[in-house]
Amino acid sequence: MSIFEEVVRWFLDPAHWDGTFGIPNRLWEHVQMSFLATLTAAVLALPVGVLLGHYGRFGNLAINVSNVGRALPSFGILVLAVPLFGIGAAPAFIALVALAIPPIVTNSYVGMRDVDPELKEAARGLGMREHVALLRVEMPVALPVIMAGIRTDGVQVVATATLAAVVAWGGLGRFIVDGFAQRDDVQIFAGAILVAALAMVAELALAGLQWLATPRPMRASMRWFSRPGRTDELVLQGG
């Protein structure tokens, strides 16, 4: 029997759909953890990035924080959280939030910084106070860029949450990590399919949110799957 047939059988086995170790519970754990970690990171990081971008201060810091963040190996940060916070959900959650903060700071900074200055002046000219202009003019204009950052981040969190199985937390990564330990290729492959599928669904769902946050005329240039790489030169300023 080929590995593919065995994987199909694995998915058809009712035992894999039941209880703590079943697919529905692992999926729910994964979704819940990723959602809460992304939300927490956004709540912590957005005010910082938005205000730095609004006042145009500490630009280098706001941009380089994500360059530094990228140098941190997520696997290492997850494991580091174990001696600090024990094993299970707590270290996983804290590590995921910590890893998710830098890109949101950078993106919300860039989004706010790039708001057309004439638009800001027009808001003042209309008699808007600073906080009103910030909330009703600048933030809506910056929203597509901010959402693009949260989208990239959310997908990254789903990916890193997979690794959290290594620090004795659940989620879909359990199938893979347990499969490694038991040398169970079928479970490894099935787990990988589940994880890849969830990551793609997350990308599409967050793309949907980004689409909603983007004004109609700008929607045409949106993509359902963001493209790898980084073609702006932000990254070059680090060196």
């Binding site: 696997f75 001696p83 990916a159 290729d185 799957f225 790489g229 680090g238």
Partner: protein, 220 residues
């Protein structure tokens, strides 16, 4: 079972002193795994990138598929390969090369696209043949964006190599994993710090190399 051991310090220097060879080997393997992934990725991504750049019809399909594949989390990508190539360094390297290809192809295409049309026309007008124009005009002018891709691919790979410790290889990731399994902080700290230092050093090195390769941009 794992627990918080308050008596275990973050760094035990005596352990460090007795394990310099282990740490050195892990570091060398980390650099090797990263080097193969980035150079191998570049060797495959360059022809693919040029092809996609020349044939515009290929661009959207190829870059879209790259986007979809790039969504697959690293552990899942390694796991998809394990039934075929086992818990081996081959699995690790196939996964790592795949990610660098996805990053580099896009940067090569976008970098070449960014070369101003007037410059290309001027070169053609001066009698440059396509191959010479590509090598002496297009690629040098696209270099900043291509190197940005190489830097991103390198830093990303250095982080991903630590994950491959789960496959039984993994350079400094082995130290991180050993720290977790043995509930012993020193190797964990050494592996983590080593990976960060390596990523920053590689990034600065590539940034320096790029300045040397594009002297006309030195005013920046």
């Amino acid at each position: 079972m794992l627990r918080l051991d308050a008596t275990d310090p973050w760094i035990r220097w005596d352990w460090l002193g007795h394990h310099t060879d282990v740490i050195w080997q892990a570091l060398v393997q980390h650099i090797q795994l990263t080097g193969i992934a980035v150079l191998g990725g570049l060797a495959i991504a360059t022809p693919v990138g040029l092809l996609v750049w020349r044939w515009r019809a290929l661009r959207n399909p190829v870059l879209s598929v790259a986007g979809i594949l790039y969504t697959i989390p690293s552990l899942a990508l390694f796991a998809l390969l394990v039934p075929f190539t086992g818990l081996t360094v081959v699995t690790a390297e196939i996964g790592l090369v795949s990610y660098t290809i996805l990053i580099l192809v896009r940067n090569i295409v976008v970098g070449l696209d960014g070369v101003p049309a007037e410059i290309r026309e001027a070169a053609t007008g001066m009698g440059y043949r396509p191959a010479k124009r590509l090598l002496t005009i297009d690629i040098p002018l696209a270099l900043p964006v291509i190197v940005a891709g190489v830097r991103l691919a390198t830093v990303t790979t250095i982080g991903l190599v630590t994950v491959t410790a789960l496959l039984g290889e993994g350079g400094l990731g082995q130290l991180i994993l050993a720290g977790l399994i043995q509930d012993f902080k020193t190797p964990l700290v050494v592996g983590l710090a080593g990976s960060v230092v390596l990523a920053v050093a590689a990034d600065l090195l590539l940034a320096g190399a790029q300045r040397l390769a594009t002297p006309w941009r030195s005013s920046r």
